[in-house]
């Protein structure tokens, strides 16, 4: 492996490489495949989309699959990094930190108290939630919320690696979003704080 790497380095530097095994070419080829395909005119989902979103899988009668929202910003590295900037500027970082949580719950794990679907996250941000999550209605426009939503999902590896931010300009924190292990969201969600109080 070391040998292979040196060959690649040499090749990049333009030095004559005695042997450049075909595997190196294949490796380089795949590397170029990993690049994000940037759409320049993508639109986030219509905000009316969040009106129909459910918070629970439980529904009387025959089982109905949960709707899944496609947020086009999750394929757009620029939008995700804008989401990261907003996440910090709007003080999301003050409660959830860089995914580990503190005042608010962690966002890098697989437990989603109020749902992991982009529409669910969108409505959590806009509406707020009763156990401490403030409502950011009128503080952010819909476009900004969709960007933050895309970034929030990148914290737990729900966004493709080539789109997720790779390195922070700040003091090193958790592993970069692009290296965060993707874990499928826990099906039943998390336990809201309110469920922990005796009544």
């Amino acid at each position: 492996m070391k040998h292979l790497l040196r060959n690649i380095v040499d090749a990049v530097r333009g030095r004559p490489a005695f042997i450049l095994p075909p595997s190196a070419f294949i490796l380089l080829l795949f590397a170029s495949c990993m690049r994000e395909e940037r759409g320049f005119r993508v639109s986030p989902p219509p905000s009316g989309r969040v009106q129909t979103v459910r918070l629970t899988e439980l529904q009387p009668g025959p089982a109905q699959p949960m709707e899944v929202t496609q947020n086009a910003y999750e394929q757009n590295a620029y939008a995700v990094s804008e989401g990261k900037r907003l996440y910090e500027q709007m003080n999301c970082v003050g409660c959830h930190f860089h995914g580990g949580g503190g005042i608010g719950p962690p966002l890098m794990d697989a437990r989603w108290i109020y749902g992991s679907d982009p529409s669910q996250i969108f409505s959590t941000i806009v509406q707020g939630r009763p156990n401490g999550m403030p409502s950011f209605r009128n503080k952010l426009n819909d476009d900004q919320v969709w960007k933050i939503t895309a970034y929030v999902r990148s914290l737990s590896g729900q966004v493709e690696k080539d789109v997720a931010p790779s390195r922070s300009d700040d003091m090193s924190g958790p592993p970069p979003e692009s290296s965060t292990e993707k874990k499928p969201p826990v099906k039943s969600g998390g336990i809201p704080k309110s469920a922990e109080m005796p009544k």
Partner: protein, 638 residues
């Protein structure tokens, strides 16, 4: 409910007989008839429900003379525990000596009680007569437990604080306890209300809103009652609130006075009586001029810690919290009166003296720690002093009459400061450890929670030592842009904490000789010692650890004589009391949490070292040692 009220109206505990005699006989007859009718039917019904009886209530003692703890006062130990710090001097010293450093090794669990709450339990139980009172973290339930029938609930009071308050509590959902005065229990709720509850019945007497959660204000401190007023302060230094202390009348909860810790002198209640000892603290409207324009309005200086009272001088003493935001670049200037020790007139709140421990605080070193009021010999003279083991790592000893610093010696590993000049009162900083925007500064010792946080120390007049629970933590700190959005965190810093020098131990328990100004002995602990301390006339010191050990230590030698593993890590304040059976008991709440225990209490993800304001980096292994769950433990000799 209506019936119960009527019953208590008809059977008041102290009936005014002269007035009854003057009533016209016919009316008297009717009244008598009604009384008989109601007492035979309605009142017995109320009893069947298991509700409070209408028969003469077992009244809690009406003590209005709270223990001063002054060494000169020669007070009788009554075996009760009426306020978290035991007495006005905040010494946490119990005069009981049945349990001593020899026999404490046989200590056994007497009884336990589950609070049913899973967050960090920082409170001290109270013992009044034959009742124990326990306040839980949010939702701030108050339990009255019967000591004659150990662990059984006499009544429970639920203030139902707003659930949204959980989102503006910086460091878990803690509450540091209640205070007893004149048949009433007073305490604060997370959503910034102060409540007064009848100690005998659990009936709410009044409830006053003292802060606004939409601005980020919560209240976590334990109030103290001084001369018929309940003293309360706010929390929210990480949310850009403006710090204050206020006095509520015990009778009706109305505000008697309120003093801010930032802003113009009129708001800070600084007047003609204000005589700070050092030139650095003298001047007009320093609460405005030491800030960028209007920054003092969101500048912190909260009062979430401890208040002491000296009845002779009629002064209260407390410290104020950190300035906001943490990033110091946002607030050039001294930022008065944050991180300050302040003495005020107990009746009017007028400031008497102040000393800013941390001008232009750089590291979140709140000045809210306890003030122990003791008498000590200094240069051959007996002085009335105030001992403060500070967050910045020095034990400050003040002349509490004048505010002069008599001593400031380090009790922990320090890299960011070089000592206090006792002539000028200035704290010398190490230049290369000063943080700023976009700059990462490493190896700052102590870390943001300081060498010692809120966890209160104890003083024994027998040994003359101060017993200090504290941390051994350092940190890396990066200043970042801070945006003020009301009701959201206003910090502007990325922080990573880690163990200070040594084998990775993050906590210490130090016995400090305030006269010799040095440590006498020290115990190292794996995790920060986040519990309070208590010391007894039997020369035993008690404290708890975050990995769940409750320990008894020989107060003179520092030898751990006994320990017991409780269910969840301990961050509460132990107390010592005499039960109705005349025996000595030790009680403590277990239930890990708080800022240091947020990784367990809040289920945080330790992969993010910056989580919980950087504490997560130092506490990632805590879940291997403890789980959450609130439980009261009471110990006694077999």
């Amino acid at each position: 409910m209506a019936v119960r009220v009527l019953c208590s109206v008809l059977f008041p505990s102290g009936v005014n007989m002269s007035r009854v005699r003057s009533v016209v006989p016919a009316v008297r007859g009717l009244l008598l008839f009604l009384v008989v009718l109601l007492s035979s039917s309605a009142c017995s019904n109320a009893n069947k429900d298991g509700g409070p009886s209408a028969a003469p209530q077992p009244k809690a003692p009406q003590a209005t003379n709270l223990p001063t703890g002054a060494q000169s006062a020669n007070e009788q130990e009554d075996g009760q525990w009426l306020m978290p710090a035991k007495n006005y001097a905040s010494t946490r010293y119990s005069g009981l000596d049945q349990i001593n450093s020899d026999n404490v090794k046989t200590l056994k669990v007497a009884w336990t009680f589950s609070t049913g709450v899973n967050r960090g339990h920082e409170a001290a139980p109270l013992v009044v007569g034959d009742t124990m009172y326990v306040v839980t973290p949010y939702p701030n339930i108050l339990y009255a437990l019967d000591l004659k029938n150990p662990g059984s609930v006499k009544w429970k009071y639920e203030p139902d604080p707003a659930a949204a308050a959980q989102g503006v509590a910086c460091c878990d959902l803690v509450n540091r306890g209640a205070a007893f005065y004149d048949g009433t229990i007073f305490y604060n709720t997370l959503d910034a209300h102060t409540v007064a509850v009848d100690a005998a019945t659990g009936r709410e007497l009044w409830k006053t809103q003292v802060g606004d959660i939409n601005k980020g204000e919560t209240v976590t401190m334990a109030p103290i009652v001084v001369k018929g007023k309940v003293l309360v302060g706010n929390s929210g230094g990480e949310f850009g609130v403006r710090g204050w202390i206020q006095a509520l009348n015990v009778g009706d909860g109305k505000v008697a006075w309120k003093a801010y810790n930032t802003g113009p002198d009129t708001d800070v209640l600084i007047g003609a009586d204000f005589k700070p000892f050092y030139a650095k603290d003298q001047g007009k409207d320093l609460g405005v001029s030491t800030w960028p324009p209007d920054q003092w309005k969101i500048g912190g200086g909260t009062v979430w810690g401890w208040i002491s009272y000296d009845p002779e001088l009629n002064l209260i003493y407390y410290g104020s919290g950190n300035p906001g935001p943490w990033n110091p670049d946002a607030r050039p200037g001294d930022n008065k009166w944050t991180c300050s020790v302040i003495a005020r007139d107990a009746d009017t709140g007028a400031a008497k003296w102040a000393y800013q421990v941390g001008p232009h605080d750089l590291y979140d070193w709140d000045g809210i720690n306890e003030s122990l009021l003791v008498e000590l010999p200094f240069n051959g003279q007996q002085r009335k002093v105030l001992v403060r083991p500070e967050r910045d790592g020095y034990v400050y000893i003040f002349d509490r009459v004048t505010g002069e610093v008599l001593s400031a010696e380090p009790f922990a590993h320090l890299t960011a400061t070089k000592g206090v000049d006792l002539k000028t009162g200035e704290l010398a900083h190490v230049e290369e450890k000063k943080p700023g925007t976009g700059k990462v500064v490493r190896d700052i010792c102590p870390a943001a929670p300081g060498a010692k946080d809120w966890e209160p120390s104890a003083f024994s007049p027998k040994t003359g030592l101060v017993y200090i629970p504290h941390q051994n933590l350092c940190m890396d700190f990066e200043g970042v842009e801070a945006n003020y959005i009301a009701g959201t965190p206003y910090v502007g810093a990325n922080v990573k904490m880690y163990a200070g020098p040594g084998d990775g131990h993050r906590g210490e328990f130090t016995a400090w000789d305030p006269v010799a100004q040095r440590a006498v002995w020290k115990i190292e602990e794996r995790f920060p010692v986040w519990s309070g301390a208590v010391v007894t006339a039997g020369d035993v010191v008690f404290y708890g650890t975050m990995d769940g050990f409750f320990k008894a230590v020989n107060a003179r030698t520092g030898e751990v004589v006994w320990q017991f593993k409780v269910g969840s890590g301990i961050i509460g304040q132990p107390i010592v009391y005499k039960g109705p059976d005349g025996r000595e008991y030790v009680a403590v709440l277990s239930g890990v949490g708080g800022w240091s225990g947020a990784v367990v209490a809040g289920g945080l993800d330790p992969r993010d070292p910056t989580g919980a304001l950087g504490y997560l980096n130092a506490m990632g292994d805590l879940p291997q040692y403890t789980t959450k769950g609130g439980m009261l433990y009471v110990f006694s000799l077999p």
